[in-house]
């Protein structure tokens, strides 16, 4: 869809300033793009390449390695159901099956109204709360078919709008500090050995 907005470019510049080398900001900037559009748009990648002095191919080369980045529109709500070992042991596949039936799509698919995408994913570090899922990276624990249906209803009715932002938004609070000291150069840092 689009290049990064002015506001996001300002955020991008802050992020770049926290790293000794520009390219280190690549993954955070890709997250900014995904937050803006719900996926990482081609124009946004070209824009990021400009901001970081990279070729667009380098941006895409890194971006495509990572599972979370999507390169075409996905559902407003991405529901990731863990099927790894701890969840498999307590019914994850039944849950996935139920989710597929309820939404009329297969894992990896998106509903026609563009509201939901479901995926079976690897361990999401909630193994003692299995079976577990994330909706736009917000957790739901010990999920049953009934609680899954309730989740879908609540998402459809807008009841969870505050709690679950649209796909692409991760933390709602950002680091706002600037690198106060460390990026200023090797000379000062050599002094620390004198301590």
């Amino acid at each position: 869809m689009s290049r990064l907005s002015e506001e996001r470019v300002a955020t991008a510049k802050e992020i770049i300033g926290r790293f000794p080398r520009r390219k280190s900001a690549l993954i955070p900037l890709l997250h900014l793009a995904q937050e803006q559009d719900g996926y990482v748009a081609q124009d946004a990648m070209v824009h990021i390449a400009e901001l970081l002095d990279l070729a667009p191919a380098e941006v895409y080369g890194t971006a495509s390695f990572y599972e979370m980045f999507k390169f075409h529109p996905v559902g407003k709500y991405c529901i990731n159901i863990c099927t790894n070992i701890s969840c498999q042991l307590v019914g994850a596949w039944n849950l996935l099956h139920h989710a597929e039936e309820r939404l009329g799509i297969k894992s990896g698919g998106t509903t026609q109204d563009g509201l939901f995408t479901i995926e079976d994913v690897e361990c999401i570090a909630a193994c003692t709360e299995a079976p577990a899922l994330q909706v736009n990276y917000r957790y739901r624990y010990k999920v049953t078919p009934e609680s899954f249906d309730a989740l879908i209803n609540d998402l459809e009715s807008g009841k969870l709008t505050g709690e679950v932002p649209p796909h692409g938004t991760l933390a709602s609070v950002r680091q706002t500090t600037t690198a106060a000291w460390s990026n200023r150069g090797v000379e000062e840092q050599a002094q620390v050995d004198a301590r």
Partner: protein, 449 residues
Amino acid sequence: MSVPSGPRIITSRFDVADGHTYAGYVRTGGYVSLRKAVSSMTPQQVHDEVKAAEIQGRGGAGFPAGTKWGFLPAGVHPRYLVINGDESEPGTYKDRLLMERDPHQLIEGIVIACYALNASQAFLYVRGEMAHAQERLAQALNEAYASNMVGKNICGSDFSVDITLTWGAGAYIVGEETALIESLEGERGMPRLKPPFFPAVKGLYMQPTIVNNVETLANVPYIVGQGGGDFKSIGAPTSTGMRMFAVSGHVNKPGVFEVPNGVTTFRMLFEAPEYCGGIRNGGSIKAFIPGGASAMWFFPEHLDMALDKPTVDKAGSMLGSGAIVAMDQTTDMVAACWRIVRFFARESCGKCTPCREGTTWLERVLKRMLDGHGRPEDIDLLFEVSESISPGIAWPPRQTTICPLGPSAVSPIASAVRRFRHEFEHYIEHGRPIDGVESPFATHLASHA
């Protein structure tokens, strides 16, 4: 059953409602160790306490943190600390809790470590999928900067350090330290060859870099506050301190527990009422994973073993990332084995041929067994392919690959096929599990996956 007890070191604020805020942290004794370190100790003295504590890294390999810190070459700057918050080894659940519930404790540990290491900057790399942890850490970091616990002239001393909070975007392999460094440099998360790329010598931006796990560093404020000797007196001399274990699977009360290291046994975790309170439905253990999906499995004869690194290593597995998965007598071992192998096949970064091709092949062979199309020669084939990734199929694994991910895929196969060969043969012959075992795909065919 009585269980050994110990102080709550890193989970002490889990029940404090505002323990994640600066005010709550300071009210409960937070940032006292940092003040002590920068005002009355030299970096070397701090390092000495961590050495004396003999704390083993909690990220997987269990390498002593104090020893690792000593590998930084003298006089080479800038040097960095990288904090591994990528927690994604199946079964592992503790770093996320530490980041969400007590972010300041981690930040304090990081700043103290940077002081000991003379590091100028730390990079806190959180797993991409952990939105809440990212949020809590961002909030805490902003507060810590505002309160002069991070940044320039910390607590009025001449020590300054920055922490940059950042996160990944979904790739298990990025948990491997050199892959994490690649990712921090904006690259695909593919491991580097060691040697020559030992992070302590040639790490981030080819500068000396220490990579430590979240739980490892969360212990540092206690170690500096109470002294390394105090920490070492907890647990066993060969596995010191308290340690977090996530126990999941077929137990009555799965949970994450901070227990005395080295002296608590697997049976205690599974059976004691203060921990998991027994196997579900009054059943029994058929097998369990002692340290994450990469570990060799253990069986009922290992239940009374203590969670002690050298003991578990000697028995042919590892405590890894503190991830214990219990499987009761109804578990379909072919399906369990397949699911873990599928994980490694999906997560192979593709850099080495034996891993990229081998893990995919192993997954396909197991899948066709589950689908009822297994062939009589398939069990031999599993071992042959395993040999090509990890010659000798031994523990600790030998590898033909750049990193240990490839050989990790061999662990479930070596474990399950050797012990439960008849279950694999039954699948090959009849296309279904043996009697008394539940397929996890009751309403959902594996062919879908």
